[in-house]
């Protein structure tokens, strides 16, 4: 039999084409990489989540301008950008605790500090923008990491005065995590504090409470803080809107969750007084 290279090539191409038409539909089920929706998902698959935490930590490192404990100095502390987004500010005691360097161990350590950043500072005056690339990358690598969206949106809204971009980022987070109470809480804060839109804030926070109550019980126990934040903020919102009765109900609910129910009782007492002072206008007097 005579071997013809062009014919063999054509035959092989035809065979490859035929096999491709048959295999294409099956191959779709073999891997989900190409359905991930972004480049990182396609390149790394689920392995990308390993990098997401690192990039989130990089955002925290940048927030501290490089003054950051290494794995040898650090003992399971929450990232400070996450703490700041929950309204935490450093007290003098915190500052002392965060001085992870301590006294130099030896002369080499002492001399080496000439070449390390040894001051604990935070980014401010809009330089907070420098953490955004790492948060963006962390969100692309692991869209299920909720903290990335809440922290990013907080800094965009509160520190950089960009509520529109914060909302877009939160909506992206919500699309990836439709049941996240944390994202709904942050979205409610955005409507309340930046847009002063009480109705939308109320709707979003109430949805957050409903989503929380739909969670399995063990998860509810772990995430109790977000429910407390939702309920207290709803109570404050109803108080601001003049719905004192509803505000009292939310404060009563918050008392069951709060570590300091006595402080909330003061609010409840004040609201009860306000409610009692509201004298309904008799219809007869209007005519």
């Amino acid at each position: 039999m005579k071997f013809s290279p062009p014919l063999t090539l054509v035959a092989l191409l035809a065979l490859a084409f035929t096999l491709a038409t048959g295999l294409a539909s099956r191959a779709d089920h073999w891997s989900r990489r190409d359905k991930s929706g972004n480049l990182f998902g396609m390149l790394f698959g689920d392995g990308r989540k390993l990098f997401a935490n690192q990039f989130f930590t990089m955002a925290d490192v940048y927030f501290h301008s490089g003054y950051y404990p290494s794995i040898f100095d650090r003992a399971g502390k929450e990232s400070e950008i996450a703490e700041v987004s929950h309204g935490h500010t450093d007290s003098p005691d915190d500052e002392i605790k965060e001085d992870f360097l301590g006294k130099p161990l030896d002369w080499i350590d002492a001399f080496g500090r000439h070449f390390r950043i040894t001051q604990h500072t935070h980014l401010e005056h809009h330089t907070e923008r420098e953490i955004l690339p790492w948060l963006r990358l962390a969100a692309d690598l692991d869209p299920q990491k909720i903290e990335t969206f809440t922290v990013g949106a907080f800094f965009l809204r509160e520190h950089l005065n960009r509520p529109d971009q914060a909302e877009t980022f939160l909506r992206e987070g919500l699309r990836n995590n439709p049941d996240s109470c944390e994202i709904l809480f942050e979205l409610g804060r955005l409507y309340h504090e930046s847009r002063h839109d009480l109705d939308r804030a109320r709707n979003v926070w109430e949805l957050g409470v409903r989503k929380f109550l739909a969670l399995p019980l063990p998860q509810q126990k772990d995430d109790k803080l977000v429910l407390e934040e939702l309920v207290v903020n709803l109570a404050n919102l109803e108080n601001e809107a003049g719905n004192y009765g509803q505000a009292i109900n939310w404060y009563l609910a918050a008392q069951k969750l709060s570590p300091n129910p006595a402080a909330l009782q003061e609010h409840i007492d004040q609201l009860r007084k306000k409610l009692a002072a509201q004298i309904p206008v008799a219809p007869g007097k209007l005519y």
Partner: protein, 259 residues
């Protein structure tokens, strides 16, 4: 001294004839420009991540240029048998060691200057500030560190069998010192004996290359390192370079070049 400079000149010519530096520079430039072109939340003023990425690439590239160029100097001369006419000039073995070191160090310095010039252009075009003193301090410290590394590799190239093993071992050593150097004493204190003593001894006797990494000062706009610290670090680098060159000369002096 002329002989040493002549030897150094040959090494510098070799660097710009080879493709290593050009490839690394183009790669650094492309990756930096790609990073700079990324848009995060429509904010044009974000710049620190670009500085961070560019400096990391500069560090990796400079280490590659320095280690790979140095590791093949003496083995290549031996393999091509050009070492014999070289030593017959007459050039002493000590002069060969110093000439090779100086050539590699100056060649790496030229490469570093090109890298930092590119870095200054890229960051200056985004930040619109030019902290040249900070950049020069960072460049000098990196170059001083590379002097220790080049001398260390030259020593390795005398004792190890092939340039590949010299490159691998030196890379591991340098990466280990840069990554763990600062923390080695803390790690040592957490270990049981005799590991504690061994690690503590290593900590006190190794060259502390991590001091020369001023990337954080550049990236986070932390200003200049104190000048006394800077001067002492330069002296420390000179001392370690001298130690490695002396050890390399001692090894090379007794080395049988025919085998």
């Amino acid at each position: 001294m002329n002989k040493i400079f002549a030897l150094a000149g040959v090494v510098i010519k070799e660097l710009y004839r080879r493709k290593d530096f050009y490839v690394l520079f183009v790669l650094t430039a492309l990756l930096t420009l790609a990073a700079a072109a990324m848009n995060f939340f429509h904010d044009e003023k974000i710049v620190r991540y670009v500085k961070d990425i560019c400096l990391l690439l500069i560090w990796v590239s400079a280490l590659l240029v320095a280690i790979v160029t140095t590791a093949r100097q003496i083995p290549a001369e031996r393999e091509a048998r050009t070492i014999f006419p070289l030593l017959a000039k007459p050039v002493s073995r000590g002069q060969v060691i110093v000439g090779k070191f100086l050539g590699c160090w100056l060649a790496t310095g030229v490469a570093l200057a090109v890298f930092y010039f590119f870095f200054a252009i890229i960051t200056g075009s985004r930040e619109h500030i030019w902290p040249l003193a900070v950049y020069l301090q960072a460049l000098w410290m990196q170059w001083a560190m590379l002097a220790i590394v080049i001398a260390m590799v030259l020593l390795g190239s005398i004792y190890f069998a092939a340039p590949s093993s010299t490159v691998t071992i030196c890379f591991i050593a340098v990466a280990g010192i840069l990554g763990l150097g600062t923390h080695l004493h803390v790690i040592a204190l957490q270990q049981p004996e005799p590991m504690q003593t061994i690690l503590t001894a290593v900590y006190f006797t190794m060259p502390h290359l991590e001091w020369y990494d001023l990337r954080d000062f550049v990236v986070y706009d932390m200003g200049l390192v104190s000048w006394p610290g800077f001067a002492l670090a330069t002296l420390y680098a000179a001392v370690w370079t001298g130690i490695f060159l002396l050890l390399a000369w001692l090894g090379f002096r007794r080395k049988n070049l025919t085998t």
